[in-house]
Amino acid sequence: MTATGTKSAAAKAGTKVMTLLEAITDAMRTEMRNDDRVVVFGEDVGKKGGVFGATMGLFDEFGEKRCFDTPLSECGIVGTAVGMAVYGLRPIAEIQFLDFIYPAFDQIVSEAAKMRYRSGGEYTCPLVIRSPYGGGIRGGHYHSQSSEAYFCHTPGLKVVIPSTPADAKGLLVASIRDEDPVMFLEPKALYRHAKGEVPTGEHVVPIGKARIAREGTDVTVLCYGAMVPVCEQAAQAAAEQGRSVEVIDLRTLVPLDEAAVIASVKKTGRCVVVYEAPKTCGYGAELSAIVAEKCIEYLEGPIVRVAGFDTPFPYTLEHLYMPDQKRVLAGIDKTFAW
């Protein structure tokens, strides 16, 4: 199995059609070829190529020294990554599911995030923690959670979430080259569902710039990751009802492209925030708060959040838990309720 896709015939020169997953592999391969400080490791990333296949082929190409399995310890995966980064490597640590990152939480929050600050800039921690997040694959309680807000609330971390294959590659390359620790969260629901053209060579998407996924004039929908296609579909459905929805794919949660958010809300006068994490204190609360603080005077309706419910993640009822097109549409409706 190769990561470069099979539809290359259909692709433009210099690009190939890839799934989001293949684009991630491609980004790592590209950077491992570019920079021998880049190493990737985690549970099952070696011979097996990762439980989702994200590291497929890297063990064969780069050998065990640069692509290796670890003992079953997220604390160890991240803690050793911190040590490697401090000592000059560019580690990419894979956490098998974001739900399993908590044994490493101390190393992330107390160490990686604070190394530069607490040492007055003497020591830095340029590492990437890659992890699949979110629901939509019937993974139930412990294979579906979206905990990006924890990391967004931790100064010193950057938080990046792609929603398209091209962005996945370009943002991951940017993350690997970044001088600071980056949480690179991968919408596992899109791993094989999102397909698109991806530049095969050098391709960097800068951290901190949002993307207008769909232009519109009546209401702004802010989203990221696996919620982007859901919101795009909702926007399409709304268009059929005569409402012009602007969908902003944030791409990076920290640092947020606040200018893009505010410009769009000022233009449309309405705002819906969509995320699949539990509603309370989710990242969408931050988005609402920013809008309510900085451009409330432009609003013609409430800022509506469409989010996961404030329950742990269910298995059987997953389809009801996660925001879908209908719920986003209902959220859009609410902003017109005045």
Partner: protein, 370 residues
């Protein structure tokens, strides 16, 4: 320093003199029946997954002796903090098979109300504590429950399980240390089946064995042949007795092998040498115990039929009954977050209710794994 690997049965099912625990014939047959039924249950679980009728399954094939021998050493009033690869214990503790199968479907008959993936059971009636996916967490909890029993002054013993991979978890270190410091009545069973998904135990740790890790906590560590149900039972019985007498915890390493792939999502052929696998297949714990029963004249073809066909019939009936049951209602999603729903949860429940009234909410989702 090297720990001996304890065994009682040789590969032909002959018991070493003086080591046979001499269980009564009925009990031996019961144990055998449980092992056979456990495997049948696992086979059926995987088949249902392959047929797309359930979303996920994970087998314990080859490890029946390891977990059944261990749990058999407990009283029914003792508690279990299990991992996810000890389904036989449910049968040992007489959990109705239909309830087990309902868990796979995550339907309204599931004691966990469809909140977890298949094989993450919770059975209060069996003192079988809810299984968690995050590796290792149960070890510290078992230590805490053991501390609680000492504080309360009762004589419950706690048995908890982890894999070879689990020895690397934070909680392995913590759970064993706390249990030892407080002399908690806990038996830690590490089922070393050679693999943690694709990572061999030789890359998990370079310690002499898993059992020797007990030294780090000042508790006894024992290595036992995990495919020898009598040896596992004997070792665990001693550990349980010690625990009950207030002499503290024990670490038992059962040396066994994961015959199947890690789970229905995994294909072990990608990373595992066929030779190793074939060698272990020959050490099948059920076949070995069957030989022992034969030597004891406790096994007949008819008995075998009864065990296997009986199990299959029970499972088939359970699957049939379970599959017919509906899923938990949407409103149940908001229950059990807290004892009483918060105002926020009530509002969200209402919101969902209204959206569903309008129709269409709840699109189809993908499958595990992608």
């Amino acid at each position: 320093m090297s720990l001996e690997l304890l065994s009682i049965l040789d590969q032909d099912g002959k018991a070493q003199k003086g080591k046979d625990p001499n269980l009564p014939p009925k009990e031996l047959q019961k144990l055998y029946r449980l092992m056979v039924a456990t495997r049948a249950l696992d086979d059926r679980g995987l088949a249902l997954q392959r047929q797309g009728r359930i979303g996920f399954y994970l087998q314990s094939t080859g490890q029946e002796a390891s977990h059944l021998g261990a749990a058999y050493a407990l009283k029914d009033s003792d508690w279990l903090f299990p991992a996810y690869r000890q389904p036989g214990i449910l049968l040992l503790r007489s959990v109705p098979i239909e309830q087990i199968v309902c868990e796979w479907f995550g339907n309204e008959g599931d004691t966990s109300k469809g909140r977890q993936m298949p094989v993450h059971y919770s059975f209060r009636q069996a003192n079988f504590v809810s299984i968690s996916s995050p590796i290792g967490t149960q070890l510290t909890q078992a230590a805490g429950a053991g501390m609680a029993a000492r504080i309360r002054g009762d004589d419950t013993v706690f048995m908890t399980f982890c894999g070879d991979g689990g020895t690397s978890s934070n909680d392995f270190h913590t759970g064993l240390n706390f249990a030892a410091v407080y002399k908690a009545p806990v038996v830690f069973v590490c089922e070393n089946n050679g693999w943690a998904i694709s990572v061999p135990s030789s890359k998990q740790t370079v310690s002499e064995s898993m059992a020797i890790k007990a030294e780090a906590y000042g508790m006894p560590g024992v290595r036992v042949d995990g495919n020898d149900v009598l040896a596992v039972y004997r070792v665990c019985k001693e550990a349980v007795d010690r625990a009950r007498k207030g002499e503290g915890p024990t670490l038992v390493e059962t040396v066994t092998y994961r015959i199947a792939s890690h789970s229905s999502s995994d294909d072990a052929a990608r990373y595992r040498d066929a030779k190793e696998f074939e060698a272990w297949k020959k050490k099948d714990p059920i076949a070995r115990f069957q030989q022992y029963l034969k030597h004891k004249k406790l096994w007949t073809e008819a008995f075998e039929q009864e065990c296997l066909e009986g199990a299959k019939a029970d499972i088939a009936a359970a699957v049939k009954a379970a599959e017919a049951r509906p899923n938990p209602g949407p409103e149940t999603m908001f229950d059990d977050v807290y004892m009483n729903p918060t105002p926020q949860l009530k509002e969200q429940r209402q919101e969902l209710h209204e959206l569903m009234q309008k129709g269409g909410v709840g699109a189809d989702v993908g499958h595990f794994p992608l």
